[in-house]
């Protein structure tokens, strides 16, 4: 192995190979991050050069009720859609993890919405089926519920976006399925010898063994959900009464409709801070519930 390492020591070739990414990283990530941090302390409209205004943007944001509204909307969306998606994904993955016929077909059908779910086309579909004459009202009519405009009502509009997001649990499901296949069958055999039922096995074997995968899905789900944009933009446009104005949507409006690019940059850094803190908290808490292979021995 050491021999191989020496052979592969090639500083020039190494940097040459990674240079596309390295250049992109410098020009499209690092430099823009520095700039947007600077912009966040300026008044900047793109048409004229940025003008330094110190903490003014952040002070205004702290008094901006639309900012607080978008935070509330985004947190509600994240806290409802991320866990729901994980629960569905895990539940279906466990069903599919048996030796049953037609697993490929089930997997295909259940994955299909996730394949196309992010597209404008599906947003258009959603706008229609949750509309006044959409098919959701036909279904609720079966239960004697009066038809309503789900998208046009502040109380239910966000729910339609959550539903759309949960409908796309397919990727998380496939990751769970791969994780479930990694769990050695002996663990289940040993625990059933100990007299554990299906339910206890789920809590004592499946969940701990799968916890790194759950953690991964949770983190990626959180990061993506905080940045959710297209569905809200196309289906509800942030309305009615700003009830679906997600953070990314509000930022977009500030930057590209109002051309308050300094203000929007400040919003972007606040979003980064929120996502970083949420991720960090999850990493800290993960110590208490995520088990990696090498410490499974000490867990019994």
């Amino acid at each position: 192995m050491n021999h191989g390492k020496n052979h592969s020591y090639a500083p020039l070739a190494g940097y040459l190979f990674i240079s596309p990414w390295l250049i992109g990283f410098a020009i499209l990530t690092v430099w823009p991050m520095i700039q947007s941090l600077y912009y966040s302390f300026t008044d900047f409209s793109l048409l004229s050069p940025p003008r330094w205004i110190g903490m003014q943007n952040f002070k205004e944001i702290s008094e901006d009720r639309f900012f607080y509204n978008s935070l509330k909307v985004t947190f509600t969306f994240v806290i409802t859609s991320v866990p729901a998606r994980l629960v569905f994904a895990l539940f279906v993955a466990m069903l599919l993890n048996q030796k049953i016929r037609g697993i490929g077909l089930y997997r295909t059908i259940i994955y299909l919405p996730s394949l196309i779910g992010g597209s404008v086309a599906v947003a258009v579909l959603w706008k229609n089926i949750f509309g006044m004459t959409g098919f959701i009202n036909h279904i609720t009519a079966l239960f004697g519920i009066a038809p309503k405009n789900w998208i046009g009502t502040p109380g239910t509009a966000l729910g339609t976006l959550v539903t759309l997001s949960v409908w796309q649990f397919g990727s998380a499901m496939i990751i769970f399925l791969a994780g479930l296949k990694q769990i050695p069958g002996e663990l289940y055999e040993a625990s059933s010898v100990d007299g554990a039922g299906k339910l206890r096995q789920f809590f004592t074997v499946t969940l701990p063994m799968l916890s790194p995968v759950i953690f991964f899905n949770l983190i990626m789900g959180l990061i993506n959900s905080f940045q959710s944009f297209t569905a809200a933009f196309v289906i509800t446009g942030g309305g009615p009464l700003n009830s679906t104005e997600m953070y990314a949507l509000y930022l977009y409006e500030k930057a590209f409709a109002a051309l308050h690019m300094g203000y929007a940059s400040a919003l972007a850094w606040i979003l980064l801070a929120i996502v970083a803190v949420a991720t960090a908290i999850n990493f800290l808490v993960s110590k208490y519930w995520v088990f990696y292979e090498n410490d499974t021995g000490g867990n019994r």
């Binding site: 048996q98 919405p113 706008k127 690019m261 919003l267």
Partner: protein
């Protein structure tokens, strides 16, 4: 043994139910795309009489440009960016996966961090930069970044390259093969399944990308299919939903075809790297 079959039966019932719920909106979508406007408010899945002209009329419903034009725009752009993404990502992945160089660990950690970075933080300066290059309303804001590799894809390919035994390239090295030769002649052919996975996901994401075109493209002649769809709803006072749904359905057909043609790469790709939640 008996309880096993019973549990399988229950699993089938639940899975069928789930599949039905998951698939019902798509089925309704297909039916609705053939409906006339009055029929759309009926609870039936399929119309009495199929309105094939939803497709033919919808295709030419927008002024000046037909959907042929928007599809061609999307295809041209997506193929270019996908090809560049695959080439650049594989080069970078080879560097990280096979070569040793100073600070490699640090760069790799930064690569992983960029996957988690919310794009909003770089959005405005990138826009300002492309604006100053006069790249607004061109395809360059999509093409140039794609030539610099996607962090996600690079990570996926590195994972794959690490699984390829090193003896092959070592003996090639002893035979005097250059690093590029090893990349080109040994690793690249062996990487084919992973490259196909990258190609598929890159195609899908570029195809459905809405935010990028929304901010960078502002004249109709540059519009991609997602933007055209949005315009389709916006420009009509009374939306002819049948036509809109028909065009929307057509817009996801390339994605579906790709999915059915390369299903196993999908499942492997998602499972090995945990792509996008």
């Amino acid at each position: 043994m008996k309880s096993l079959t019973a549990s399988k039966f229950v699993a089938h019932v639940i899975l069928l139910l789930f599949s039905a719920i998951m698939f019902y909106p798509v089925l309704w979508w297909i039916g609705a795309s053939f409906k006339s406007n009055p029929e759309l408010s009926l609870p039936t899945l399929f119309p009495h009489k199929f309105q094939w002209n939803n497709y033919s009329d919808g295709w030419v419903a927008l002024p000046k440009y037909t959907f042929t034009y928007f599809f061609l725009n999307s295809i041209k752009l997506t193929i270019t960016t996908t090809a560049l993404t695959v080439i650049s990502s594989s080069l970078v992945a080879f560097g990280f996966g096979r070569l040793n160089f100073p600070l490699k660990k640090m760069w790799f950690a930064l690569l992983l961090l960029t996957i988690m970075l919310p794009s909003q933080v770089t959005l405005i300066p990138q826009y300002a930069m492309f604006h100053s290059f006069n790249w607004i309303n061109t395809y360059l804001p999509f093409i140039v970044p794609s030539a610099m590799g996607g962090a996600f894809f690079i990570f996926l390919l590195i994972q794959f390259i690490r699984g390829i035994p090193g003896e092959l390239d070592e003996s090639a090295k002893i035979d005097g093969c250059t690093w590029f030769g090893i990349y080109w002649r040994i690793i690249l052919p062996l990487m084919k399944p992973a490259l196909i996975t990258v190609m598929i996901f890159s195609f899908l994401w570029h195809w459905e990308d809405y935010f990028g075109p929304l901010i960078y493209l502002n004249t109709v002649d540059k519009f991609t299919v997602p933007l055209a769809l949005r315009m389709f709803i916006d420009t009509q006072s009374a939306v002819s939903w049948g036509q809109v749904l028909a065009m929307s359905l057509l817009s996801v057909i390339p994605q579906m075809l790709l999915f059915f043609a390369a299903q196993r790469y999908f499942v492997e790709g998602i499972a090995t790297t945990g792509l996008k939640g």
